[in-house]
Symmetry: C2
Subunit: 456 residues, 2 copies
């Protein structure tokens, strides 16, 4: 990952001031934090977990370098013993998490960190950022892929993602969610994702005529080419592409596709199909792009557009209609020696559940998802536990390859009943709170209100 | 910048395939591209230019490394002479740009690249990404700062920005736009931005009681502390903070502020102010945070909230209501030997202006902005030219320090009449097309339609 070597200061200052005070007050307890999403963003009905690989890479390399310590020292905020502690700091905790590609829901921990409190606290900002980014984008992309049915979708978002890190995450997350590939070359190199791309309007405009630009391109790439036909007049562009495809045939080559990037894609695709078919070019596919998202793709296909594949950019790469998830990282338990203190937050509309928790997925005989139960990890609940141990004492237990993650996401989405995959007005998937967790929460809530003199 | 050393492949594949074909067809002309934003995102009425520093750093270091070439070779797409050309590739072009912090409007080039066509084309994806990210976030932050009046705003967005690169850009862009600082420690180190932060709810919950957590924190940080008072019961938390502030006074120290992070911030801030004032703690400020944006801040202040400073996170850091700008990079002129060919695009709703252009700003006697004129660079137009030469033959001409950029942004916003700074329903700032540019566009449009057989 690009930030591997310098990310420890990519954190909120309060993580460091809190830790300085924990250190100063000899608060040497072990803490457990849950990372979860509080609410579904608008129109969403599920999440696709992503970002774990980056989170674990981060924790594995979680070190302060000399320059970092120098900078902190220069701020005049921190005492020497704490800075000296930081210079020796590393992450020694345990992490449980849902594997990337898991379908999950609000209030379900997707990641759980147990570590000495300073280590667990210092990781907060990065973990939130990594999981939020990758999960937001995977969730959005899975909607786009669903809308496109079995047609390939290619990620075209890099030029307008919120930065380069987001561009890489967009390519990886959308691939996990079922996209066929990306235009992002570095993502191709880093993750082994298939890369796609041929020409832009500026290419066509750099030649004397559209025809000459097509010929020039095919001279360089006689195989598997896609011609962009809408620089001047789309249907004339299609006719020119058809002529050129016939010439290619004579050389024994085939034009792969034409690309439509503007105008009324439904009408143009139908007319383009007719022109291609008239020329006996049934094998030439129609690729469409240009401000697409899941809603537009669904509407196009519903209305009979003749499109074989989609390039989707900005709306998917920034998750335009919901550019973040309400992801939070909440303390749920403290351990001091042999004593255990479950913890919860009571401030209005921000209540959290205490204790070491597990998410249990209840399925029918065919494997379809029926409901989840959020319970205590040591409760006996029938159902598949979704959180598995991924890091022990700071050591990554096992990596999962991207192809396997992608396959597992597809399988998970298949097992999620269709009604939850509607693009809007999907019902709420049931997530129940187990009896054990309800009991613990009630008991603790009473005690906290008493101790802190709450009025309610 | 974090991506300095590995960003050349952070590009769309089609930039490389187009360039391979330019190379293959000996298209050795010089090209000029304009980078501009086509439309105002919803509720926006102006943009704040940002991202130039990163764009120039990128162009300066624009090299393919051995591993990059190896990867491209492995794809089997590119011919040997082109790969060999890439291994020697560097950027030798000229760049004109609006300085960061400039107020600008749709269709005005914010950056103009003139270079051999392959160099200019290869830079497209990164330039778009960098300018879009920084400009989108600076523009959003400037609205938040405007809503807050003279009260300080601190960027709290890192945990939910779209990745770490976006987190850094959010801190830098919001500082340019007038924020007082950021919670992002690395942004503090990299850019010298003031950093802020004290404690989270988990800190308060890690101690036996709220009171003990406050005492522990003040033991470590007796000066300039901010106590978070809403973990259990907000007003009781304020009362506890007031008690502690009185104890601090006896030691000669002062509590800096309390922080409200949830609930009805208007009502709570008024009650908190009353509690503090009753305890003769007029100097203790009230800092508010929790899902804020420009609309909520404006409403709070309009309704008499007693808030002295704001922490603004996600909505600002992802520009929630408009997470990107419709930024594009369009070919406007080709030069071959002594011949000049202005270029424009005619496809529906995506028309571009040809030629080497300049943006002229017309002001009144006091310096207030009246209107802009988009004209040809060599036209004689009275007004301040906004595009200045920032790179010559691949060499950065002069860097501008962040403080100077921030100061210039403040000055620019001051000169923009108030009506254009309304949070919604602002009038459209006039941008006129010069007679020379109109004439060129009309002439060229006619010629293109003739050449390519357009129907209109």
């Amino acid at each position: 990952m690009p930030f591997e070597k310098e990310n420890i200061l990519l954190t909120d200052l309060y993580e460091l001031t809190m830790c300085a005070s924990y250190f100063d007050n000899n608060l040497d307890c072990r803490a457990t934090f849950d990372l979860f999403i509080r609410n579904l963003p608008r129109k969403r009905s599920y999440f696709i977990a992503a970002g774990l690989d980056e989170a674990l890479t981060y924790l594995k390399n979680f070190r302060f370098r000399a320059g970092d310590i120098e900078f902190l020292k220069s701020k005049g905020l921190f005492k020497k013993p704490f800075l000296s502690y930081l210079s020796r700091f590393k992450f020694t905790g345990d992490v449980y998490a849902m594997p990337e590609g898991t379908v999950f829901f609000p209030n379900e921990p997707v990641l759980r960190v147990s570590a000495p409190i300073i280590e667990a606290q210092l990781a907060e900002t990065f973990l939130l950022n990594a999981v939020n980014l990758a999960t937001t984008l995977a969730t959005k992309a899975s909607r786009v892929v669903t809308a496109a049915g079995y047609r390939p979708v290619v990620d075209f978002s890099l030029r307008r993602t919120q930065g380069m890190h987001a561009g890489l995450a967009a390519a990886r997350s959308s691939y996990i969610a079922g996209c066929a590939g990306t235009s992002n070359v570095l993502a191709g190199r880093k993750y082994g994702i298939p890369i796609y791309g041929t020409m832009a309007h500026s290419f066509v405009m750099s030649f004397e005529s559209e025809e000459k630009s097509f010929e020039a391109y095919l001279k360089t790439f006689p195989l598997n080419s896609v011609l962009l036909v809408d620089t001047y007049d789309t249907l004339k562009g299609v006719a020119r592409a058809a002529e050129i495809a016939k010439k290619l045939e004579k050389k024994g080559n085939r034009l792969s596709a034409i690309r439509l990037d503007s105008g009324d894609l439904r009408a143009l695709s139908k007319k383009a199909r007719a022109i291609l078919d008239r020329n006996k070019l049934k094998y030439v596919k129609i690729f469409a792009s240009g401000n697409l998202d899941e809603y537009k793709i669904a509407a196009l296909l519903k209305n009979g557009a003749r499109i074989d594949a989609f390039g989707v950019g900005t709306a998917m790469g920034v998750s335009k209609d919901a550019p973040y998830c309400d992801v939070i990282y909440k303390l749920s338990e403290l351990n001091q020696g042999r004593k255990t203190f479950p913890v919860m937050k009571l401030s209005k509309a921000k209540v959290t559940y205490p204790g070491i928790k597990q998410v249990f997925r209840i399925k029918d005989g065919k494997g379809n998802y029926l409901k989840d139960v959020l319970g205590l990890a040591d409760e006996k609940i029938k159902g598949q536990p979704l959180l598995i141990k991924v890091m022990e004492k700071g050591r990554v237990l096992h990596g999962v390859g991207l192809e396997k993650i992608r396959h597992s996401a597809a399988r998970n989405l298949e097992m999620l009943p269709a009604k939850y995959k509607r693009l809007s007005d999907a019902p709420v998937y049931p997530v129940q709170i187990s009896p054990g967790l309800q009991k613990l929460a009630a008991k603790l809530s009473k005690r906290i209100r008493r101790q802190n003199g709450c009025s309610a």
